[in-house]
Amino acid sequence: MDLKNLRQRGEFEWELPRAGAMRVPGVIFASRELIAGMDEKVREQVANVAGLPGIVTASYAMPDAHWGYGFPIGGVAAFDADDGGVVSAGGVGFDISCGVRTLHTGLKLADIETQKARLADRLFARIPAGIGSTGGVHLGSAEMVAMLRGGARWAVAEGYGSEADLTRIEEFGCVAGADPGAVSDQAKKRQRDEMGTLGSGNHYLEVQVVSELFDEAAARAYGLAIGDVVVSLHCGSRGLGHQIGTDFLREMVLAAPAAGIALPDRELACAPLKSALGVRYLGAMRAAINCALANRQILTHLARQAFAEVFPGVHLPLLYDVSHNTCKEETHTVDGRKRRLFVHRKGATRAFGPGHVELPHEYAHAGQPVLIGGSMGTASYVLAGAAGTEERAFGSACHGAGRAMSRHEAARRWHGRAVVDDLAVRGILIRSSSSRGVAEEAPLAYKDVTAVVDASDRAGLAGKVVRLSPVICVKG
């Protein structure tokens, strides 16, 4: 992206001044180098979002922003319903509530070294992953409705995990206002056999080790120390969320002219928050968030079973669970006034700072854990929502590295078997049924996640707590 279109506000904060149809300015949080590497499409998309009705303060982009659909991936925007604000199906995306969950294991790297291959095999056997896979949970229509209303709470009541898990999940495992009746029959049918499945592409389950510590106090609050083994999983609302995205994107595109909304890009498809369509989408999208939370809860149960087979008596309590592609109703202070806003985070993580009322009490002082996924060969990070982050970008931070090259190019450059062998030499075990899938997800196909988290840290969005290095990776 050409820097000459931007005004620098700070070392890691750049303003795209209001122009044309923009109602508010754009703000990009990133280093000079990260911005230079961003596509011009990101600037265009930040500006387009800034032109949507009812947007508040600014259209934001996180340090990992890249060319998305309508919204940039890494885009954050808040809307006020009383000010004609909108909700955008394009601003949430297809993989509703795709997110990361991290579990403690109570084990150190030395404890698992001799059992690594067996653990990898048991996890791969237990976790349904990849195209065509089905879960062990098959939902009838009444159970589907209960799951869409209850989220991870429903899963715990069904025997997947414990009440203690729920306190370590955003919204305590169940987002209010879900409306299963707003979810199409097709979406429900797609989900019937997909509960407890990982998916494919960039979704994974990893066993990781804490390899570097940056903030001792926050690490202590999160229960993390050097050498600790943790498990992280990255997946979302599966077919149900994908179909809801598909259904409402179409409906919002067709309804926009009648609602008086001129879309500069159809992918920005949106509806007024106070319209029947907007309300219906919110109900369906919240049901998809609950579906993602239930899905990650079932996968947690399966991971626990696999660990117990190899390490009898081991416990895997949650560190935290974050969602990326959402629109959430939150209270934020804008110009000294508390307002209820609908915050879209597209490929961005909620990152509430210390003292926020929605944090579990044990994290109140440290701030919200912000779980950042990397590639299977590099690193992931745990960050902590920084003080003042609510004023900076409605309590948001980055979500991951982002791709450095297309899937096509990655598959052309590398062969899956060679990627697996190279990583094995470095002590990282990969389990996947698709050689091409592994090639497309090769570590070098991703940008340097470290530059992204450094920018989040320096921009005051979320501070670095620990670095996690991969040990085992199960891919779809």
């Binding site: 659909y69 995205g245 899937r407 698709s434």
Partner: protein, 141 residues
């Protein structure tokens, strides 16, 4: 079968673009469908043995392309199938197709990524000066 259909995938930062072209609109749509299968696995590995009927209608041809690809995504997801042969007919923004494929066989197909949905990103359906049709969009994987 739309024998004149040609296809390719094209790069997008996070996902994959699919593009079909041919002498008719239906050929271009069939090509885009093959390109979508190619985003998942090698279409040549998918044996066209089981037939499924797909139908959709839209206010314009661009929306029809999105609907067509999303109808295939739905059939792939719920039937756990992959498709490699597409016989498409289109009249007045209304599409009817018979598509052939087979159940997913992970070992043989080596599917790399699941298509979540067809987007409006880079969406275009047009006829060039030479009379050739093109149909394309980015699919989310």
């Amino acid at each position: 079968m739309n024998v004149e259909a040609r296809w390719e995938t094209f790069a997008h930062d996070a996902d994959i673009g699919v593009r079909g072209s041919g002498a008719t609109l239906a050929d271009a749509f069939a090509g885009a469908a093959t390109a979508m299968t190619a985003a998942i696995c090698d279409p040549a590995r998918v044996v066209p043995k089981d037939a499924v009927v797909v139908a959709c209608a839209a206010p314009d041809d661009e929306m029809l392309l999105v609907d067509w690809l999303n109808a295939l995504v739905y059939e792939m997801a719920t039937r756990r199938m992959l498709f490699s042969r597409f016989e498409v007919s289109i009249e007045d923004h209304s599409l009817r197709a018979i598509v052939w494929g087979e159940p997913v066989d992970v070992a043989r197909h080596q599917p790399a990524a699941e298509v979540k949905g067809a987007s409006f990103c880079e969406l275009a359906v047009r006829r060039d000066a030479g009379g050739q049709w093109l149909a394309q969009c980015v699919v989310d994987v």
